[in-house]
């Protein structure tokens, strides 16, 4: 037992605790200020979901780490907390408050780290009134989906993440010996009519009969979405099947055949198919009388899950999500003059953890400070 204690000693230092807490403050402060420039999502990735903060000297391509990032600070704190308890705290009644408090914190941090794994699976479910969907779409990630539609009652979807699509990439599909070569790629684009090009030779991708895609700067604004566009060619065993251009802002699929099979390809927000379907019955945007101030948003939906014999209606509104099969559906937004609802879909198997941690922390704190207060009052009364 003492060997473990020896081993852990350096990590139990209170100075380490204060150092980590101080670094955490610096990270949080800098990250918050930078959000004005790069948006919440990007700031989260750079400051809190990273090992280091980097800076790039001008005219150089280097990334030099100059400060520990969220992962290092968080892990050190976690290790420090656990080590201190294992090594130093003997389980005495006097310390029970602090033990509970720290346990709650540990649970919270670990739970959040776990939940972070699922953050990239966050998606949105956009439904017009009366529409039914069995999939949700990512707000940040797009996919080039190549779909084998030969089958009579099912389709095979091959989803290529947009991160694999920079200009010049060659992608070998895991099925059917198909290869996709990216001739050009815009991470963000907009669709305009050909007559709106500033000059005839302006770089663009012809996408439809009356539309071309031009490149835009990537947006970091909270409610704006990046819409990529790509020019690609499909090969089967080195034989060119065809070349097409697709844009996410206009997700009309292209069709082709290869090796006796029929395929469709489309560039669209990444889809997460679910084993059940949701229909929007009605979306309500209640306003306060005579104003445009929102009083309440609610979506009446129908949940259809044949495999579990579920066919029921449910009301999703502010502060009242729907939890089903590990997914949680929140009322997040609306569009189209209140005709369309936007539900946020999150997967968080550890959603109960913060509630438990909160209880532990509150009880721990009340015990710890309560004992202090009682002894303080006793001394005053005696004096």
């Amino acid at each position: 037992m003492s060997k473990i204690v020896q081993w852990l000693k350096p990590f139990t230092s209170l100075k380490l605790t204060i150092f980590c807490l101080g670094c955490a403050m610096v990270l949080v402060f800098l990250g918050t200020i930078d959000q004005v420039n790069i948006g919440v999502y990007e700031a989260e990735n750079r400051y809190f979901k990273s090992f280091f903060l980097f800076f790039t000297p001008p005219h150089m391509d280097l990334r030099i780490p100059w400060f520990p990032g969220g992962y290092i600070v968080g892990s050190l704190l976690l290790v420090n907390l656990v080590a201190a308890h294992v090594a130093r705290f003997r389980l005495s009644l006097k310390k029970i408050g602090i033990v509970l408090l720290h346990s709650g914190l540990i649970l919270l941090l670990v739970g959040q780290l776990f939940a972070d794994l699922f953050v990239d699976l966050e998606s949105q479910l956009r439904l017009d009134q009366g529409e039914t969907k069995n999939y949700s779409e990512s707000f940040y990630f797009d996919e080039l989906a190549v779909i084998d539609t030969t089958g009579a009652d099912s389709d095979l979807v091959i989803s290529i993440p947009a991160s694999r699509l920079p200009k010049g990439s060659k992608i070998d599909l895991p099925v059917d010996g198909l290869r996709i070569v990216i001739n050009d790629y815009y991470p963000n684009s907009a669709l305009i009519s050909p007559s709106q090009l500033p000059q005839p030779g302006y770089p663009h991708l012809p996408v439809g009969p009356m539309a071309v895609a031009v490149q835009l700067e990537k947006t970091y604004k909270q409610n704006e979405r990046n819409l990529p566009a790509a020019d690609f060619s499909v090969f089967k065993k080195d034989e060119l099947i065809g070349s097409w251009r697709l844009a996410a802002g206009f997700p009309r699929p292209i069709n082709f055949q290869a090796g006796g099979k029929k395929y469709e390809a489309v560039l669209r927000p990444k889809r997460f198919y679910k084993p059940f379907a949701i229909t929007l019955i009605q979306f309500r945007h209640d306003r306060y009388a005579g104003t445009d101030i929102a009083k309440n948003f609610s979506s009446r939906i129908r949940l259809l899950d044949p495999s579990r014999h579920e066919d029921r209606e449910s009301l999703i509104f502010m502060n009242n999500p729907l939890r089903y099969r590990g997914f949680t559906f929140y009322q997040a937004g609306f569009d189209n003059n209140d005709q369309t609802t936007v539900l946020q879909v999150a997967q968080n198997p550890s959603w109960l953890v913060p509630y438990i941690s909160c209880a532990l922390i509150v009880i721990g704190m009340l015990l710890q400070f309560g004992m202090h207060l009682v002894s303080f009052v006793k001394r005053r009364v005696i004096a």
């Binding site: 807490l21 403050m25 700031a43 005579g290 104003t291 303080f376």
Partner: protein, 632 residues
Amino acid sequence: MKRLIPWILGLVLVVWVISRMLPPKDAPGLDLNGFAKLPVLVGGRVMPMDTLGRLSLSGMNHHGTYTTAGRMVEQPSQGLLDIMMMPEHSDTAKLFEVSNQEIVDLFGSQDAKGQFVSYSFNDLKPYFSEIEKQAAMATQADSETRNPFQRGILKLRDSLRLYLQLKNTIQAEDSPDFGKEIEAFQMVIQPGIKAVRDRDAGKPFDNQDFERIVLFTQRYQNLSQAKYAFAIPSPQVPEENDGWRHVSQALLSAIVPGQVPYPVLAYGRMISAYRSGDIVGFNDVVREYGDYLSKTIPQKLDRPKIEFLFNHAQPFLQAMTLYVIALVLALFSWLFWPKTLGKTAIILLVGAFLVHTAGLIVRMYLQGRPPVTNLYSSAIFVGWASVMLCILMERFYRNGIGSVCGAVIGFVTLLIAHNLQLDGDSLEMLRAVLDTNGWLATHVVGEALGYSAMFLAGLIGIIYILRGVFTTSFDEATSKSLGRMMYGVVCFATLCSLVATILGGIWADQSWGRFWGWDPKENGALLIVLWNAIILHARWGGYARERGLAVMSVFGNIVTSLSWFGVNMLGVGLHSYGFMDQAFGPLLAFVVSQLAIMAIGCVPLEHWRGIKSRGRRKEPDIPVLTTGTVQP
């Protein structure tokens, strides 16, 4: 006898203050109060005309008062009456204020010299198209990145729009005599309907009747474009705007039944009486209309009446007065007459606290919500909670520290609140995501309590440093008790802020789908929790003792004020509920002042006047502040 002086003095002052809050006496002449109590629906809630007047006027110019014909008009209801009933009169009143020099330049050469320049509606009329053009361009820019000119011109454009809407609240502004006009309308309805029906059926019809009703209909349809305040109650149609209509809607709805609703006629008669100077007639109609309301919508009249009394009483201003007096007396009690002045101070503090509490409770009743719903109410609550903590502290320590802290924090927070109030309706309806009393009462109130405690700890730290470095009244007992106070308050702050922050995360999980989103306000709360944790761990590790604790508590002031106000200025994230750039300057000044005090606190202890004088003094000529009792 000597023991009674504090009580007498204290009670006299408190009673004096309370007397200023009593309901206004009805003055002879125009029944302004009667008009001010009349209910109207604005922004989704029913308020008295008095509030509408205050909000509108203080939106147009920062006092809420203005001059017309050389005279100063101080009562908002009087101003509103003029706007609603005698627009040609209010058109000449200097209602609109501009301070930005570039905007003033648009209207001809005049040097603002950093002051407010006042304009009347007629003054600005020739420049309307220019103002609209500039405002249209300003809206193209993102609200976070607008410069002062753009913000100022948008504010001016909105004030002008509001003014137009107010002029057309109970009448059509261009009508020479609206009362007679609606009577004429009433007579035109029946024959007009007949003419329309005949025309539709292809039969011969009376062209004049037809033209008349079409004219009126078009006129009132145009009028409905100015909808903003809904003054006409229609209890028979509760589903429409909760039973309130604009005068245009009420008139248009009169076509089918052929009868103009009584409230419209009542307001029409009020207008006629007011314009012709018939005071008696005006008062009669106001009374009659009031009786009508008590009979038809009695349940909707309670809140507006109480709000009218509340507006007049201005409890927070009165509390501020008492806080200032308490502060002065408490400071002097450290120099002489400690018992008398000290006791008076605490009595005044408690009196101010009671007035403060009363105001808070009335607000809760009027809004039907927990006490913290927007930035304004958070300031009121933070002050209230701090003062309560200070009163408790004073009860335990009886050394005047609690009184001084309570008075300072009470005064400062109410002053901040007063300035925040100029930004709109402080009793405004809550937007959808905040519509949950449970979380408002726990998370939001908890965060506000955390702020209160942090500021209190910081203030004690400031007292510790200033007294220790600059004065000789800093013996060991004092510094020890100050140290203990700080520690206790920091513990309380940690408890509140940690629990409230986690509750906020749980609320976010239920509302937005994630426990923690690194949103600026969330980060601000996290910074407070982290700083509290650092203070406590540093103290437990012995790295910070009393002086260290004081300096760190003062830094806590900076962290808290940035979290409370700074994040709103960033304009990003899900929490940007109140954008106030005018507060940036004062916030910066505050941060610098706290840094300066921290620097003073870091001066080596041996140079502290209070500590140097400890060794020398044998017989203290200043009261020794020991725990429990005050010894002369």
